[in-house]
Amino acid sequence: MKGARIKFAVFIAAVALGIWSLIPTYQLYFVLPGHERALNARLTRAATADDSARVQVEMAEFQQHKASIHKRSLHLGLDLVGGMQLTLEVDKSKLSADEAADAGDRALEVIRNRVDQFGVFEPIIQKVGRDRILIQLPGVDRERAKNLIGQTAQLKFQLVQEERATYDALKTLDDKLKAAPAADTGHPPKSDTAKKVKTDTSRLAALLDTARKDTGLTAVGQAEEGTLLGYVRTVGGDFAVDDRDYPEFKALLERTRPYWPAGYEFLFGPSEAHEGSPVRRLYMLRAEPEMLGSAIKDARPAPYQGSEPGLTNTWIVSLKLGRKDAAVFAQVTGRNIGRRLAIVLDNVVKSAPVIQSRIPDGNAMITTNEVNPDEARDLAIVLRSGALPAPVNIVEERSVGASLGTDSIRRGILACLIGAVVVVVFMVIYYSVAGVLADFALLFNLFFLLAVMAGLRSTMTLPGMAALALTIGMAVDANVLVFERIREELRWGKTVMAAVDAGYDRAFVTIVDANATTIITAIALYFIGSGPIRGFATTLTAGLVINVITAVFVTRFIFDWWLARFEVKKLRI
């Protein structure tokens, strides 16, 4: 049997190819995690700085090795490993036509930079359509990552208007409000603003107190409805509003926008705790920035070293300006000694330090008020990688926690195993020896399916596991068609050889027909294009194609070989 030898050789070659294609996958999921744990353990045990440095070098090499293996493996989808998928849309509404043209590409570049510096293993960042960006990040702190990616990071340095002038401006705006009350004059403050005034004895507090008396409000615990000053209190020498009143106050302030003093704008600080309740500071700033974030050459997180008591142990971002910009900064600071310079990030006043002296070396800092260095680290990354050309909105998010993903894998494998065992046992009971043959085919099927998927670097998703289970059920279908046909042919009195021949020949067309329709639908599903379903479509398509091949060629070959080798005269099927 010369033909049989060649067929056998082809089969062995296919198996070898399959094993070769699965080796990286095996390494990635079964060998490397052990190595990684060992390295981590060594790092924590490292006694000296030298040891630690050596392990870190090994660690870096290991990560490179892992990345190269990962490229050649069967990937697991985010719904199985846990992670986050975001679709961002670049908001071009405020851009000119010129700026809008390449805003998508620029945003992509900036976000790629940020994610790279954040240090995520194998992220996917790609443009979808004209101004959407798809990001897939396996296993990350979601809120942190979202914040990192989404910050526009437009940094400005703006001069702060003096307190008295700010107060006067607010008072003028209140007069305007009284002159032209809108239908909805706002709600009384939810907070006990007026009560708190008493605890602050600054000059500002005194001012506010007089203001309240002027407007006829004497009783503590009341604030005039519909006025800006009614909401305002003082916090450490700044005006502030209670965070709970913030939306209403902001809306009220927004209504007075046409009357704002020319060349100035009002901005808020971040929400912060003050005497047990959340507040936001209010600043009146010169609208024209003294300097822009593009002047920053480098930004690094650092522990706070200064003398302000509230900031000890907190982290800051230390900024370094370029040489030319440092000169400008020196000029600005030199001219405005004693005034305050606000550092404004995405229209939020991060801090507003008083300029003590001229700063010649181009160093500045942004305080975070956080003991945890994460915010400072992320902010430094964002500032280093530059500002987004326009704000981005999250239009779609799909995240899965790692523990849920592990649970899905466990249950998916369990369901596949139980389904497979039932099918395998059934086939043996129902078709005896031929059933064993079909079971072998099933095994090869699964093996080749995984090998092909690894070879194509496709992604296994949760629906993909369902498709894997389905292919188990459908894999034996082709053999059932053949075996049933052989039974019939045998009943008609054909010899074993002739019956097997006829069975395979007759069933072949039917097998192709039957699988073709399922493959057609699977291909159609591929076009929905959402990650998990794509995994389903590829797994099912590959599974069915391999089904046809193994059922028709592999089992037939073994069947023929078995019949010839043992000279089978009577077939129990």
Partner: protein, 300 residues
């Protein structure tokens, strides 16, 4: 071993009975779909689906309170088999980089201090995306159906092709009826199951039709009706066994699979049963009925 021996069940003579059964099932499905409607998931409605897990159990009332606080009192709240909360909220805009999940986790941290929680799943789909997804899914379903139609019309003559397509509509309608009846959430995965079910149920119809074509050629003496009845009986065993092996697997998925796969398995299980029924009782019978009303000029 054989489950089904040589049978001679009068499938064709009793066809009217099966038409009535199928007609009633389809009608019932249509009524259920129209009356109950589908429970569309966030893929299609837009909005958020969150799964929240707590280290220490939290009552549904307490969770309601938190939802009220973040202005989502109307959100759907459900406790799943793992004891996790499933929260479904409508699409809403939040300032800056905030999303429903970030707003909720802030409030959860404030409301349940000391109780660790994790948002295990967050599917948030904006209105624009959900609209696009609807379009894409519709396109995929149409493409799939069109593909099957073209294939069937190439491989079969007009009558069997029409029969296969009718049985396909029959299977889909009844399966969707079950989806509506049990209030299963219609997600992209469920749509994938429906489409796969369609592709697979055509399989059985093809096996039966193939056999009839072969037998018509072989058994020239017998009438078309007898040939059909015999062919259905002859393929009965394989039709049932092939469906059985798939059912083993879909049932395993239904019992042991992860939550989001259960709905998929449900559709596949119902679809496989209905599809098998229609391949045995409907497809050939439809062709027989057609042949009787409008006899073709020459025997195929």
């Amino acid at each position: 071993m054989r489950l089904i021996g040589d049978t001679n069940i009068p499938f064709v003579p009793k066809r009217r009975l099966f038409f009535v059964i199928s007609g009633l099932m389809m009608l019932a499905s249509l009524v259920v779909i129209l009356v109950r409607g589908f429970n569309y998931g966030v893929d299609f409605t837009g909005g958020s689906l969150l799964q929240v897990h707590f280290a220490q159990p939290v009552t549904a009332d307490a969770m309601r309170g938190v939802l009220d606080k973040v202005g989502e009192g109307g959100a759907g709240l459900q406790v799943d088999e793992r004891g996790d909360f499933l929260i479904r909220a409508k699409a809403r805009e939040f300032p800056g980089q905030q999303t429903f999940s970030s707003v909720l986790s802030q409030q959860l941290a404030a409301s349940f201090p000391g109780n660790r929680f994790e948002i295990l799943r967050d599917e948030t789909v904006g209105p624009q995306i959900s609209k696009e997804l609807q379009g894409k899914v519709l396109l995929a379903v149409l493409l799939g159906l069109l593909g099957i139609l073209i294939y069937v019309s190439f491989r079969f003559d007009f009558r069997f092709g029409t029969g296969a397509v009718l049985s396909l509509i029959h299977d889909t309608l009844i399966t969707l009826g079950f989806v509506a009846l049990f209030g299963k959430e219609v997600t992209i995965t469920v749509i994938a199951a429906v489409l796969t079910m369609i592709g697979y149920s055509v399989n059985d119809s093809i096996v039966v039709s193939d056999r009839i074509r072969e037998d018509v050629r072989k058994m020239r003496k017998e009438s078309f009706f007898d040939v059909c009845n015999q062919s259905i009986n002859k393929t009965l065993s394989r039709t049932i066994i092939t469906s059985l092996t798939v059912l083993f697997v879909t049932l395993a998925l239904l019992v042991f699979g992860a939550a989001s796969i259960k709905d998929f398995a449900f559709v596949m299980t119902v679809g496989t049963v209905v599809g098998t029924y229609s391949s045995i009782f409907i497809v050939a019978n439809f062709v027989v009925e057609w042949e009787k009303k409008f006899p073709s000029k020459r025997r195929r």
